[in-house]
């Protein structure tokens, strides 16, 4: 299983995706799955959205690495704290203190475009390559697809302006890690809907054009096909529901014709949904050229709580047999689609 192999091997997983595709959820689930598989993992958010905290049942996360799940720590990178750390690391501690005193840190990270991203990426690099008390894997909840390439390449962009000096040096080290297929993998979260699929394909192309190691697509919220193989029978019953009424009568189910009509209509909607998702997933698979596409089921309760993240992590840690196979439904996760 490609995703499984990635979970066991990678040092850094960068998770991106179009807004609303569950990028943060996928990042959290990947981290928990890696933890389940015995790896010491850090999951990092960089956009100050506090999206991870709730998924781990916490009010917030900050610039301290804190335990959030089995073998998993969480971190919300703060650009200002990163700037102070960064300056300290390169022997500019007095400057860091002066900046803090003058409350200019925020201003500088806001004013020098890309510098904020450089610091955020720099922090992720530091955590991924930390020698002592470090991690086997860092999972980054990165900016959305539209911004991820400039984000990851920010160190280089600034390095082009900064021809010498520590920024340049660090940019080269960051680049080495990001370009290394053995250590780094970019994962795109997607949902089986038209525009997200189109944007995922664009995202894969732009990441590849930037020579970033795209590793996998996670198709999130896939509707399970509970009626697989019985489409013809359902179509026949929709025309003539008499056999269904007989079956109901024999079993004493107390379902009249209108109720059976509702059930058949709901089944038809569900089949349409499944068929549409299957078509989109086929387009996705065809468009990403051999990239593994891993499916996660739609969870009826939504994904907002640790138990749901664990359910998804369970899928990732021990994925379903073959991609594209009829999705089995986990007991806790009754599938219904969001289009």
């Amino acid at each position: 299983m490609p995703s499984l192999e990635l979970l066991d091997r990678a040092r850094l997983l960068v998770v991106t995706g179009k807004g609303g595709t569950g990028k943060t959820t996928v990042a959290a689930a990947l981290a928990v799955a890696a933890g389940l598989r015995g790896r010491r993992t850090l999951v990092v958010e960089v956009e100050g959205r506090q999206g991870l905290a709730g998924l781990f049942g916490r009010r917030f996360l900050d610039h301290q690495e804190r335990r959030v799940a089995e073998r998993v720590k969480g971190l919300a990178v703060d650009p200002e704290a990163s700037l102070r750390e960064y300056l300290g690391r390169y022997g500019f501690a007095p400057l860091a203190r002066l900046l803090t005193w003058a409350r200019l840190t925020h201003f500088i990270t806001a004013a020098a475009p890309g510098l904020g991203d450089v610091l955020l990426v720099g922090k992720v690099w530091e955590a991924s390559t930390r020698a002592q008390g470090g991690y086997d894997l860092v999972v980054l909840d990165a900016p959305p697809t539209g911004r991820v390439v400039p984000f990851l390449r920010a160190p280089q962009t600034v390095a082009e302006l900064a021809r010498v000096g520590p920024i340049r040096h660090q940019a080269e080290q960051v680049r080495e890690l990001l370009d290394d297929r053995e250590r780094t993998g970019v994962v795109l979260a997607c949902v089986p809907e038209e525009l997200p699929v189109a944007e995922t394909l664009e995202g894969v192309a732009s990441l590849r054009a930037a020579a970033l190691p795209v590793a996998s697509v996670v198709a999130n919220r896939v509707t399970a096909d509970r009626l697989g193989g019985r489409a013809a029978r359902l179509a026949a019953l929709a025309k003539d529901p008499a056999p269904l009424a007989e079956a109901a009568g024999r079993a004493g189910a107390g379902l009249d014709a209108p109720a059976l009509g509702v059930l058949l209509a709901e089944a038809r909607d569900r089949q349409r949904q499944v068929a549409r998702e299957r078509r989109l997933l086929r387009e996705l698979r065809a468009g990403v050229g051999g990239l593994p596409v891993v499916e996660l089921p739609f969870l009826a309760g939504g994904v907002g709580r640790p138990e749901e993240v664990r359910a998804l992590a369970g899928h990732l840690a021990a994925p379903e047999p073959a991609p594209g196979a009829t999705g089995r439904e986990p007991r806790a996760a009754r599938a219904e689609a969001g289009a």
Binding site: F92, L95, L104, A111, P113, L227, E246, L255, E336
Partner: protein
């Protein structure tokens, strides 16, 4: 769950609050988190208003160009163009234009407007720091969208402007953008840092001067580049333009607060989207912005099916192929019903936190909205009469 409960699948509502907005508002701002159908909602509201006879323009600042896909526009433009889609009415007083904001071009126009002369404008436009600032600084996009919105509003060319915003987080920047950008452009402290020597002559400032000079040296060592020189040059070139910027930002902000503007928060019944919607509604209330309505897209609905006892279900499952199929259909229905109920609960708890918010629910549609027909179908739900029975399926 009782059949009666499932029949009232939509959250109870009075007349569609959107109808009033689309008839009388001058500006409608659609906001919400990513992937909730904001763009389609904005376009459907605009289409409905146009068909109701108003001269309407819909603007998007979404770089994903989703509106383009929905409206058959495929170019980034900085002026509105008539929407040409199949099924648009030819006559009537109403009209529908659309534009996707070219943020960079708008920023350039703003510079050109406020510059003393062409020379100052050229100096700024050629500055490397400006070129980066105008395309990368968070909030710039929102600020420019508001700028364009205000410009179109002032032009009086339209009765109604409908704006589609980027996802919530940025949409908040959208309220802050005028302040943030002004803070940046007007940051005297920063200008001090860049070019302290010429300005500060007075004795008591000399100590500060020395400190900032030392800092500048260190910053130069860290960045090892002409970055700071570019920044300094940018601020120098900007001298004298701050007041114009500030005044304009204030006008824009006032217009957003005006009763003829309405914010529409768009969500889906998922936990995360509703949380964002609640957060945004709270933020709008705090800024005393006119909140018009909540639109919840992609709501699941189940039809009325009587409860089937477990024993009967077991007999069905043990019966022939049709019996097993029926058992599966019942299970499918249970799942759908539970999902619909969970969604209603989530929407209700959001509404409890935001008093007096009109809500419009749109059922999960069988197809993505990507043409005028789709927008009109969506509009049918957005502007439905209160008691309109929902067709199943």
């Amino acid at each position: 769950m009782s059949p009666a409960a499932t029949r009232t699948a939509a959250v109870a509502r009075a007349a569609s609050p959107l109808a009033e907005l689309a008839r009388s508002a001058r500006i409608v701002v659609c906001c919400g988190s990513g992937g909730v159908g904001k763009t389609s909602t904005a376009a459907a509201v605009a289409l409905w208003a146009a068909e109701a006879g108003r001269r309407t323009c819909v603007l998007t600042i979404d770089p994903a160009r989703r509106l383009a896909q929905a409206l058959g526009l495929d170019l980034l433009s900085n002026s509105p163009r008539p929407v040409t889609g199949k099924g648009l009415p030819a006559g009537g007083p109403g009209s529908l234009d659309a534009m996707m904001l070219d943020m960079r071009r708008t920023f350039d126009e703003v510079i050109e407007r406020y510059a003393r002369d062409e020379e100052q404008a050229d100096r700024i436009l050629a500055n490397r720091f400006y070129q980066r600032l105008s395309s990368t600084l968070a909030g710039t996009q929102e600020y420019m969208a508001m700028e364009k919105l205000y410009e179109l509003h002032e032009s009086q060319r339209y009765d109604l402007l409908v704006v589609d915003t980027p996802p919530t987080r940025s949409a908040l920047d959208f309220l802050d953008a005028p302040d943030n950008l002004n803070e940046l452009l007007d940051a005297r402290a920063f200008r001090l840092l860049i070019a302290p020597a010429q300005r500060i002559g007075r004795g008591y400032l000399r100590g500060l001067n020395m400190a900032t000079t030392a800092m500048t040296r260190m910053v130069r060592r860290v960045t090892g580049s002409e970055l700071l020189a570019d920044v300094g040059e940018f601020f120098a070139a900007f001298e004298g333009m701050y007041d114009g910027f500030k005044e304009r930002a204030r006008l824009v902000y006032d217009q957003l607060k005006h009763p003829s503007t309405a914010f529409v928060v768009v969500a889906t019944p998922e936990e995360a989207a509703l949380r964002e919607a609640a957060f945004f509604a709270g933020r709008l209330a705090a800024d005393r912005m006119p909140l018009g309505a909540l639109v919840v897209n992609r709501v699941h609905q189940s039809g009325p099916v009587p409860e089937v006892p477990a024993a009967a279900r077991r007999r069905l499952a043990a019966g022939g192929a049709d019996g097993r199929l029926l058992a599966d259909l019942l299970e499918l229905h249970d799942g759908l019903e539970a999902l619909a109920a969970a969604e209603r609960r989530r929407v209700r708890s959001l509404l409890a936190s935001v008093p007096n918010l009109g809500v419009v629910t749109v059922p999960l549609l069988a197809d993505d909205v990507h043409d005028v027909q789709g927008l009109r179908r969506l509009g049918g739900y957005l502007f439905a009469e209160p008691a309109a029975p929902r067709k199943q399926g």
